[in-house]
Amino acid sequence: MAQIRLKNVSKRWTNFVGVDNFNLDIADQEFLVLLGPSGCGKTTTMRMIAGLEDVTEGEIWIGDRLVNKLEPKDRDISMVFQSYGLYPNMTVYENIRFPLKVRKVPQEQHHDRVMAASKMVELDDFLQRRPAALSGGQRQRVALARAIVREPNAFLMDEPLSNLDAKLRVSTRAQIKNLHHTLKRTTIYVTHDQIEAMTLADRVVVMSKGLIQQVGTPMEIYDRPANTFVASFIGSPAMNLIPGHMQDGVFTGDHIRVDGLSTQVNGPVTLGFRAEDAVMAGETGQIEAPIYTVELLGEATMISMRVAGELVSIKVAKDYRAEIGDVVRVNIAPAACHLFDQSTGQRIVPGI
């Protein structure tokens, strides 16, 4: 049983900061996703937890042990790598068995545990093959089986789905979620794909440039992004962000005028709203602009237009039809609007 704590953890190279002052408590059995664009420090954070990277500063605790100086093998974790790291000279069976072998688990348990793990990821038919003779998805499952065979304190997964094609990604995602439910182990999962983060996580940590941007449940992050970075990273399409000016509860900008907002905020701000929160208006709309492009998505139609220099996307009914250049009018409910400080990008909470 392991909770994992990171206290003021930093990773610095000669003059490059990889992770800056990272603080987080991960509860036992939690599914935590580290989310961010490439180079944001999420993989480095995970590698520090695994012991594959030295910690420059700070403390990492797994359970009640300070593990800073421990070798990876002594941390009792297992890890799934982005390119799987399967041993090409061993069969699937031997690959899965390897952790038991090197950890000197009694010989007689090996077979049962390997079979149990392989059953869980549906690999029974491939046990005698070598990794080279497997498809990407099968290799991925071998890596998973090798991670779960040992029943460690925690699972670490480094972008395990990024080398799979779109369809396989969805089914493997479901499998991982299910495994977590069955095995009930602390899991840390690194990804740059916000859909994976939203679907898998109990909690998401959004990172950028080595800093934590926001920690929260998927819904919190979606509904109340802490800053413009999170707002623009989460959701598909990302939140529309429009620079403009607030005065007496009215937001104004090029082609846009939204009223009924908080009267406590004045000055330059960034207004954010999600594509699905906008509704088509009749005679007058808060946004009035010519259509830039119309995209049919199937379940809905996405129209976009230029507002205050930004391309703004709006989701409308799937039978909506219009030509490029037509002027549309759109309303946004004040409650669906988010306000961000224009210089810092931080969320402005009226009343504080």
Binding site: E71, K73, I77, F81, G85, Y87, F98, P99, V102
Partner: protein, 296 residues
């Protein structure tokens, strides 16, 4: 590059030009060897004939001296038996095999560390190795001689072996370093997470997959030890000489005695292993030569 589509459109004169050029080059590259192998079975007046090199082809004098037979193994007999070339061949075998094995052992460990470290000092060790690689061997030899005389370890095989290993290290390190870079880091890292120490990960996971690179590097270590003249000729006493310095010391003595054919036979004998090597390991040699270039 798709040669099929390109070659279809090639005009005839160009094709002829290419063919002629390649034929000239292949003759240039191969003829000296064929000629010398052929000539080594003749007597000296044939192979070194002032009158006409047809003598060498038909073996005019060889027939005269050899009861009408136009081939003779006298050169080989003289070199291997009379002049005890077999001793040198044995020494060469000992030296090359030991050098290859020791170089590879040290080189795989070091090359692996260099490939996985990624720190500043690993980079500087590689640069230092590059500088060492450029040192003419003979300049180092002039540094060895005096200390080796003092320590009384001059002239014996082990000294030469260890020196050749050291001279070989920079190259071996570079090559194995770039080879290990091509083995995904995930492999040893997953072994370490699975419960191995760094050395165990190296032994259990890296060693089983490193053989292609080790074989290629080993070929070049072998070649360096086999082809060396500067070091072995200065560091080995005449009793312990390997083939190449032995041939060089042949030259002086046999020429005076009219036994040049001994040297020719010895030269051909020393070439044979190289032929075999290229024949069997052509692909590894080519890939080894390019590995450093493409990656480094």
């Amino acid at each position: 590059m798709s040669d099929a589509t390109l070659s279809q459109k090639r005009p005839l004169p160009l094709t002829i030009l290419i063919t002629v050029f390649i034929v000239i080059w292949v003759v240039l590259a191969a003829f000296p060897f064929i000629w010398t192998v052929w000539g080594s079975f003749k007597v000296e007046p044939d192979f070194f004939s002032r009158q006409s090199w047809w003598n060498a082809i038909f073996g005019t004098y060889t027939q005269a001296q050899n009861d009408g037979n136009s081939f003779t193994g006298d050169g080989y007999y003289g070199a291997w038996v009379t002049r005890e070339f077999w001793r040198a061949a044995g020494n060469t075998a000992i030296v090359t095999v030991s050098v290859t094995i020791i170089s590879l052992t040290l080189g795989t460990l070091g090359g692996y560390a260099l490939a996985r470290s990624g720190r500043g000092y690993a980079f500087w060790i590689l640069i230092l190795a590059l500088v060492f690689r450029a040192m003419p061997h003979i300049t180092l030899v002039s540094g060895y001689l005096l200390p080796f005389f003092q320590l009384n370890i001059w002239g014996v095989l082990p000294t030469s072996i260890i020196v050749l290993v050291a001279i070989n290290q920079p190259f071996t390190l570079w090559m194995l370093h770039s080879f290990f870079l091509s083995i995904p880091k995930d492999l040893d890292e997953s072994a370490m997470v699975d419960g191995c120490s760094r050395f165990e990960a190296f032994r259990r996971v890296i060693i089983p997959v490193m053989w292609p690179g080790v074989v290629t590097t080993g070929l070049f270590s072998f070649l360096l030890a086999y082809n060396d003249f500067a070091t072995t000729s200065m560091l080995l006493s005449s009793d312990n000489q390997t083939m190449v310095p032995k041939i060089s010391s042949f030259l002086g003595s046999v020429q005076e005695q009219g036994n040049v054919m001994f040297a020719v036979a010895a030269v051909v004998s020393a070439t044979v292993p190289l032929f075999i090597l290229v024949l069997f390991f052509q692909r590894q040699i080519v890939s080894g030569l390019t590995a450093g270039a493409v990656k480094g």
